[in-house]
Amino acid sequence: MELVNKKLSHDEFYSIRKSILKQWPTGQAVDFEEAVRYQLNIPKEKQFSEKLIQAKKSGRTLIQPRAGVALIDKHIELLNYLVDHGEADLLPTTIDSYTRHNRYKEAEIGIEESRLAGRSLLNGFPAVNHGVIACRQVTEAVSAPVQVRHGTPDARLLTEIAIAGGFTSYEGGGVSYNIPYAKKNSLEKTIYDWQYTDRLVGIYEEHGVSINREPFGPLTGTLVPPCISNAVAVIESLLAAEQGVKNITVGYGQCGNLRQDVAAVRSLEQLTEEYLKEKGYDDIIVTTVLHQWMGGFPQDESKAFGVISWGAAAAALAGATKVIVKTPHEAMGVPTKEANASGLLTTKQLVTMLRDQVMPLTKELLDEINIIKMETRAIVNKIFELGNGDIAKGTVAGFQAGVIDIPFAPSKYNKGKVLPARDNEGAVRILECGSLPFNKELKDYHREKIEQRAKIERRKVSFQMVIDDIYAIGKGRLVGRPR
C-alpha cells in the first residue's frame, strides 16, 4: 500500500472488500446490488442528503441528537421517542466503543450482558454485530433519515453493513476518527482505510444513491481553535471528493464566543467550497453542522440547559444547516431518552425562534472570518506543499511535522505541542503555536490576545490558564479566570 490521494482502483477496492466482509460473520450478508436497490427505494424525506439540501435552500437549521443503545428494539424505541417527543429532524445511531475499535467479541459480550441486565451496558449500538437486517429494522422503523455516528479508525466493515442497512449518512474520516479517537493507529493506515469508505460511498453515488458524508468536526471537543478543525474538514472533504463523494457536511464544535463561532462556521463553509472548486471537484454540495459545546459540561441540569441553548443560538445565528444537540445529562453519563428529548426541545425552541435573525456581516465578524481563513489556508497549503501537491501524503507528513496539531489528542501520531487558551472575550486563541505554519503576524496576534487577558487577570501566561479554561464552562464561566 502506498497512500496517495487518488480514487482507489476497481481492483484495489474489490480485493480489499473481499477480506473486509470476512472480518465478522455479518459481513457475508452484504450484497451491493441488492443494497443499491434497497437504498433507491428509500423515500426522499428519509434521505439525509436530500433533507440537508432542502434545509440549506430554505435557511433552516435542523436538529439532531446523539443516541445509541445495545439492543435493537430498545434502540428503535429510543429513536422513535426522539422524533415523537424531541422533535428531532435527523436521527443518529451512535456506535459503541468496542465496535469502534473492532472488538466485536467484546461487543457481543456487551449485547449479552445488556440482555441479562435489562439495560444497555454498551455506550452505543453495535451495528456490526447486529448486521444488515437489524440495521434495516432500525432505519425502517423511524420516520427521519438516520446517520451512523461513531469514532472508528478502521470503519470499513461498519460502512458496508451500515449503508446496506439503510443508513443514508455516515460520519467520520481518516484524520478526525483517528487522532482524537485512537492511541496507536497509524495515520497513513486510517486515511487509507477511510478512502475505502469514501470510495464505497462514491460507488453508491455512481449507482444513483447519494449518501451524505460528514467529517467529524469537533475533534477532541476541547478548546480546538477553528483553524485546526477547519483544516481537518477541508482535508477530509478533498479526500472524500476524490473518491466520488458528492454530499458533504463539514462540522465545527462550538467554542463559546459568539463572534468566533459564527466566523468559524461561515469560513468553514466558504473554505471547503473554495478548495473543492480549486481542486476541480465542481459538483459537490457542502452543508455545515455546529456541535453544541463538546467539552466538559456543568453537572447541574439547569446549567446544562443554558449551555445547550447557547449552542442552539450560535447554530441559528451562524446559519448552520444542522446542529448536534447535547443533553442535560452530559456531564453525568449517556442520557436517558427523556433527557435527550429535553435537550432537543430546548434546541428546537431556539433554532425556530431565531430562524429569522442572522448575524450581520460586521467589520468585526469579517475580521474574525479573515483571520480564520488566513490560518486555515496557511495550514492546508503547507500540507499540500509537504505532500508535493498530494493532500493524503501531505496530511501524514503534516502531522509528523506538527504543522497540524490537535490539542489534547491521545494519538501518538499527533505532535501535541499546540496549546490553546481563551482570550479576554472567550475566543479560543493559541497560547503555544508549536510548529503550526503561521507567519509572525499571526503568531503575534494570538500572543497579544492572550497577553491582553493575562494582564487583566494580573498573572503570567501559563499552562494554568489552559487548565482553568478546560474547567471553566463546567464551572459556569467561559474564560477560566483565577479565583
Partner: protein, 137 residues
C-alpha cells in the same frame, strides 16, 4: 524523603485524554512520581507497570461508560501478581448513564477497589485521600 509512585491510566477502549492529562499534572504537582499510561490501557498494562515501578497505587480512570465491564477481575489479577497491597482507585464516569452514585460505588468497592469517585471529582480530593491512605503529609 519518601516519594510515592502511582500508575495512572484510562482503562479499556476509552480515549478520553483530557482528564488524564490534568490528573497526571495534578499528582505530579502534589509530589508524586506519576507513571502515566495514557488512554486505552488494558488490565495487564496496569499490572505490568505497577510491578515494574514498584508502585504504591493504581489509579484507574474510565469515562466512556464501559468501566463496569473493563474493571472486572482487575483486583483478582493484582492479587495474582502479588500486588494485593497496592491501592486501587477508580474515578470518572464509571458506568453507562446517570446512575445514583451509591450504586456505582458499591459495585466498584465489591470489585475490590479501595476508593471510588463520582463524575467530575476534583483531582485534589483524590490526592488528599491517597496521602492519607499512604501516610504521606
Amino acid at each position: 524523603m519518601n516519594i510515592k509512585t502511582i500508575i495512572i491510566g484510562v482503562i479499556g477502549a476509552d480515549v478520553h485524554a483530557v482528564g488524564n492529562k490534568i490528573l497526571a499534572f495534578a499528582f505530579e504537582e502534589a509530589g508524586f512520581k506519576v507513571v502515566n499510561l495514557g488512554v486505552m490501557v488494558d488490565q495487564d498494562e496496569f499490572i505490568g507497570a505497577a510491578i515494574e515501578t514498584n508502585a504504591d497505587a493504581i489509579i484507574v480512570s474510565s469515562l466512556y461508560g464501559h468501566g463496569e465491564l473493563d474493571c472486572r477481575g482487575l483486583k483478582e489479577k493484582c492479587i495474582e501478581a502479588g500486588l494485593e497491597d497496592v491501592l486501587l482507585y477508580a474515578g470518572g464516569n464509571l458506568v453507562v448513564g446517570k446512575a445514583p452514585f451509591e450504586e456505582t460505588q458499591r459495585k466498584f468497592l465489591d470489585m475490590g477497589f479501595n476508593r471510588v469517585y463520582p463524575p467530575g471529582t476534583d483531582p485534589f480530593t483524590g490526592i488528599a485521600d491517597i496521602k492519607k491512605d499512604l501516610g504521606v503529609s
